[in-house]
Amino acid sequence: MEVWQYINSHWVTIGSWTMDHLWLILVSNSFAVFIGVSLGIFISGKGREEVADTVLYLAGIMMTIPSLALFGLLMPLLSALNLPSLGFLPAVIALILYGQLPILRNTYTAIREVDPAMIEAGRGMGMTSRQILLKIKLPLAVPVIMAGLRNAVVINIGIATIAVFIGARGLGVPIFRGLRTSRTDMIITGAVFVSVLALLVDGLLALAERKFTPEGLKK
């Protein structure tokens, strides 16, 4: 009841927190996809198995660092570089790092697992390595890469709430204000909006995944 009242009387503010949250996710995951897919393609190349192991290992370690600690670690690093150590930038950087593992790993795995017979056929017909990547490997990897992206986005929608500690705006704001002032209605409002947001975005990405999956691969 109280929750409903709170939402009713603060919907403009809640709306703007939601938009901030979304913006944070959009910016950080755009970078995360770009970096993750590029790096994934790079490490899937022939003769780069050891590089791949190292990169995936590092990305794995990244996931184990508690988000609060990562934010804390980023602050001195950024101020040493004369960049803002609070607010949007460190939040985006942290989220890019957290988004790496699922995107990177899925890109790498998907490309490595393309049936060697297809690559053999492509080479035998005179495709260049670039054409094999663009015309065969990547289209076949799209569904798996999209699944990785969905994973990253959902994880990041959760983690982004914690970014409020370093001054980023978003749905973390009502949660932490509620915690400080023992306002359960604010905590629940924040939590519910984060969950609903995660479900909605995941649903949208599922649609996108279907759209981008090449026709012949759909069941």
């Binding site: 017979a117 080479r123 026709e215």
Partner: protein, 379 residues
């Protein structure tokens, strides 16, 4: 023409996969590279389009050293089909077939026309199949599309690595027949890798038999069967090589041309007389010029005594069409328990008569040619 000159492949670890082989493949010929696994046949094929780099020696394509060409250009001038097919599952049949034309920047209209022509050539209805995806096709259809794709840009040369290897024997047999028919039309220079001696004999104009990276024998299939160079070849072609050679020979080669015939309205007495005079127990009955109607045998003639041929003849008769292999004809004779098999053309016109005796003496000849009636028994 493809010319291999002392071609060697040595891998960095010292393995000699191909130990300096030399031979030529003539234009329009289907050359089978045959041998047990590990003999270097696939390696040899892949050195022709440089999927595997040559260590030593030269391969000339129409006189040009293949190492002087751009490797991708080189490959686009050679069709490439493999056992695993490797159709691209995210592309339609049309896009798959047009892979090389796309690489060569053909227009959409040209690609469409080519894809349709090739599907027709493969005996697949373009309207039904052109928009399908590989997952919607049966194994045999995929194999056909794979071959169509390798013919995509009408390359003068084709490399085929066990292209019919991964399908059931019945479909494989049919695809082989179809492909031979197609090859008859298109006359490509083909390098065809297989480990299956029967496929090699059936498909090859020439067979290159390899063993541990060396070329052991390079000859026409019939010669490979009739005159194996050494024990390895003899063992490889198998102890039933005489039977195998029957698959290579056609009924046309063994039949008697223009055998004695009778007509339906001839009276039995005169027929009986012919049989006694000629010393035969069997005569073919024809009508309307030279159309095969059936046959009549001596017992029935003598039993009936009087009347017309039509009353005593057997109408339901087995016949072999011209071009049938002797192996198939022999199978029919054994299955139906007949010693005579009329040979007809596509319009049921009588062309000749194949008898069991003729077959027997032909088999005898093959044995004699290969050095005596009792080939060495290998232990």
């Amino acid at each position: 023409m493809i010319k291999l000159e002392n071609v060697k492949k040595v891998y960095p670890d010292g393995t000699e996969a191909v130990k300096g082989i030399t031979f030529e493949i003539n234009e329009g010929e289907l050359c089978v590279l045959l041998g047990p696994s590990g003999c270097g046949k696939t390696t040899t094929m892949k050195m022709i389009n440089r999927l595997i780099p040559i260590t030593e020696g030269h391969i000339y394509i129409d006189g040009t050293d293949n190492r002087e060409m751009d490797e991708n250009e080189l490959r686009r001038e050679m069709g490439y089909a493999i056992q695993e097919i490797g159709l691209f599952p995210h592309m339609t049949v049309r896009e798959n077939i047009a892979t090389v034309p796309t690489l060569k920047n053909w227009s959409d209209d040209e690609k469409e026309e080519r894809a349709r022509n090739l599907l027709n050539l493969m005996g697949m209805d373009p309207d039904e199949f052109i928009d399908k995806y590989p997952t919607e096709l049966s194994g045999g259809q995929r194999q056909r599309v794979g071959v169509a794709r390798s013919l995509g840009a009408d390359p003068p040369i084709m490399l085929m690595d066990e292209p019919f290897g991964a399908i059931d024997p019945i479909t494989r047999d049919r695809l082989q027949d179809e492909f031979l028919k197609i090859q008859n039309e298109i006359q490509k220079t083909i390098v065809f890798v297989t480990h299956d001696i029967n496929e090699a004999i059936k498909m090859g104009d020439k067979v290159a038999l390899l063993k541990e990276g060396e070329l052991i024998q390079y000859s026409q299939p019939a010669e490979l069967l009739a005159a194996p160079k050494n024990r390895f070849v003899r063992d490889f072609v198998g102890s039933d090589r005489t039977l195998k050679s029957l698959r290579l020979m056609k009924v046309d080669e063994a039949m008697k041309e223009s055998p004695r015939v009778v007509k339906e309205d001839q009276d039995l007495e005169s027929v009986g007389q012919i049989m006694r005079e000629e010393g035969v127990n069997y005569l073919i009955v024809v009508e309307n010029g030279n159309k095969l109607k059936g046959w009549i045998n001596r017992e029935d003639v003598e039993e009936a005594g009087q009347g017309r041929v039509a009353d005593a003849m057997v109408r339901d008769t087995e016949a072999a069409e011209t071009g049938t292999s002797l192996a198939n004809a022999l199978t029919v004779m054994l299955e139906r328990d007949v010693a005579n098999l009329p040979v007809v053309d596509g319009d049921n016109n009588l062309k000749g008569l194949l008898t069991f005796n003729d077959l027997q003496s032909l088999i005898g000849e093959t044995y004699t040619e290969s050095g005596g009636k009792h080939p060495e028994v290998s232990k």
